[in-house]
Amino acid sequence: MADVALRDVVKRFDNVEAVRQISLDIPDKEFVVLVGPSGCGKSTTLRMIAGLEEASAGDILIDGEKVNDVPPKDRDIAMVFQNYALYPHMTVFENMSFGLRLRRFPKAQIRERVEHAAKILDITDLLDRRPKQLSGGQRQRVAMGRAIVRNPKVFLFDEPLSNLDAKLRVQMRTEIKRVHQKVKTTTVYVTHDQVEAMTLADRVVVMNGGRIEQIGTPQELYHHPKTRFVAGFIGSPAMNFVPARLETNGSGLSLRVSDKYAFPVPATRTERYRPHVGKDLTFGLRPEHITEPRGEGRDPRSEFTVNLDVVEPMGMETMVFFTVGNTEVCSRVEPSAASGPGEPMRLYANLNHMHLIDPANDQVL
């Protein structure tokens, strides 16, 4: 049980700066997910917290203590690796108890802790097996068990689910969440999968190019992204971005996305956007906010008709794709409302959820 803090941490590999001056405070018991595309520095950050990589500059604090020069074994952390890193020559019991045996815990206590962790993870029957005899999901559980028995200050997860198939991944995701609710240890979790990040995290840290783009709860990131990168990275399918221009329209504003289409800006946003009238901007709207006309109190001026290019039925919903100007736009519609490809369809853009991005600095206005 402890908090973790990073203060202006930098990691350089030869001439490449993998992590550029990041600062992050993780309070006790929080589940934080570092998410970002590959090469964004998230794993390096995690490995610096673990002590497997040395920070080139800045401070790493665990429980308020600076641990830059503390070797991993004395940091009292536990880590779950992407490929599990179980010791192949040891049984599950030996794997899980290894850390305790090295710390010379009494035998009875080791047995008690391992059995307790095994019960949490439902692997009691596997304790005498070797990793080779386990399936991917079982190995993943053992790797988590090895972390739990130590009862460490911090759990670190390095893309723990990326070696599992899709179905098992969803199952283990729930499992990890359940375990965290039970043991309540401060957790730092690295993944490139934004769905994993959104479902697991108390707070998500979105990283890109060695920097932190935004820190926030899943809801904050989804509804109030601060940069174009976060807006595009969070959410699946990704947010649509269309070049647009703000125009004054009587007392309000309207957003012109092409010669053909202009949408009224909701009154709640006019004051915020008024300084940007006339500028070239990027209009961002999630596919789930472009639908067939539905819902009460919608502005009929936000309805428009397009010819569909591609129609992808998903069962619960249907994705339809069309072009505005030169940009392909995706929309999520009710399956029964969807027209066929090549046919016209009436759609409604819910601008209450719109984002405007300044292309000059990629910041959301």
Partner: protein, 313 residues
């Protein structure tokens, strides 16, 4: 699948001669193709290994003139001779100490080389392999020169520091030490290269997991490196034990078994009895004596290897 006969194809060519389809069918079976491909090697091994081995077994049951079958008399005779018992003892000392030191030195140097930066590593690996690459007879001659009673370079250094010169190959105990030393020098690079490969095959994440679990460098070695290398260690030790037990060149060139037969090993003693003294059946019996010792150790070691192979996989 190679071994499935296509029904349409065989129906379309009903007129093909029986012999040809028979050959076709034979060729279509994977196992027969595999056998045919192995055949050249099987022929070579049979003619160069199995036949001579069988023939030496046959020879060992004959009398000196090779005119009469004497059963196991040659072995009975050998077991009563003090010199032979000494040779058994010496062979064991020679092989076991040499293999032990080769393995130890190989393990330590493999770790050192493995920890070198990648750039210089290839150079060092190449240089350290040199003893193993130059023809053994030539390098042994150089060693023999280094140990030479009057021109010994070692003695020159010892005397320069005010020490007494040593009769490297004249004193039986120093002679034993010297032949073992040369054998270790020659054989350690083999262990080095095998262990280096084994070290590189241990996943880095196991060490990281061990570090986080709280293991220091020594504990990582004991709990991760050694268990992961146990199979390769077992196989190299077995292989080296066989080769070292059967070593001939080093002892023959350096001491030819002397002084007072105190450096003889099986091969040199067999050579002495069989070729030098002309008692070929007795020489064959000496060389056959290694066989049961090595066979038994091979069975035990390989059984352990298979068991661990199944567990770790």
């Amino acid at each position: 699948m190679v071994d499935v006969t296509h029904p349409l194809r065989s129906a379309a060519a009903p007129a093909a001669p029986a012999a040809k389809t028979g050959l076709n069918r034979l060729m279509r079976r994977r196992s027969s193709v595999a056998f045919l491909m192995c055949l050249p090697l099987i022929v070579i091994i049979t003619s160069l290994v199995i036949y001579p081995a069988g023939y030496s077994m046959f020879l060992s049951t004959l009398n000196k003139a090779q005119t009469k079958f004497v059963g196991l008399d040659n072995f009975r005779f050998l077991l009563k001779r003090d010199v032979f018992l000494m040779v058994v003892w010496q062979s064991a000392i020679f092989a076991i100490t040499a293999v032990l030191f080769k393995a130890l030195i190989g393990l330590v140097t493999a770790h050192l080389v493995n920890n070198l930066p990648a750039k210089g590593q290839r150079k060092w690996r190449g240089m350290l392999l040199v003893p193993w690459v130059i023809p053994l007879a030539l390098s042994t001659l150089s060693w023999w020169w280094l140990f030479d009673p009057t021109h010994s370079a070692f003695n020159y250094v010892i005397e320069a520091f005010g020490g007494e010169p040593i009769a490297w190959l004249g004193n039986p105990y120093w002679a034993r030490f010297s032949v073992i030393l040369v054998n270790v020098w020659y054989g350690a690079p083999f262990f080095l290269i095998m262990y280096l490969a084994a070290l590189k095959s241990v996943p880095e994440q196991l060490y990281e997991a061990a570090k986080i679990d709280g293991a220091n460098a020594w504990q990582q070695f004991i709990h991760v490196t050694l268990p992961m290398m146990r199979n390769i260690i077992a196989i190299t030790v077995l292989f080296s034990l066989i080769v070292t037990f059967a070593n001939f060149d080093i002892v023959q060139i350096m001491t030819a078994g002397g002084p007072r037969n105190m450096t003889h090993v099986f091969a040199t003693y067999a050579f002495l009895l069989g070729i030098r003294s002309g008692d070929i059946p007795l020489g064959a019996s000496v060389s056959l004596f290694m066989f049961p010792i090595l066979a038994i150790s091979a069975v035990f070691i390989l059984r352990g290897v298979r068991k661990r192979g199944r567990e770790i996989g």
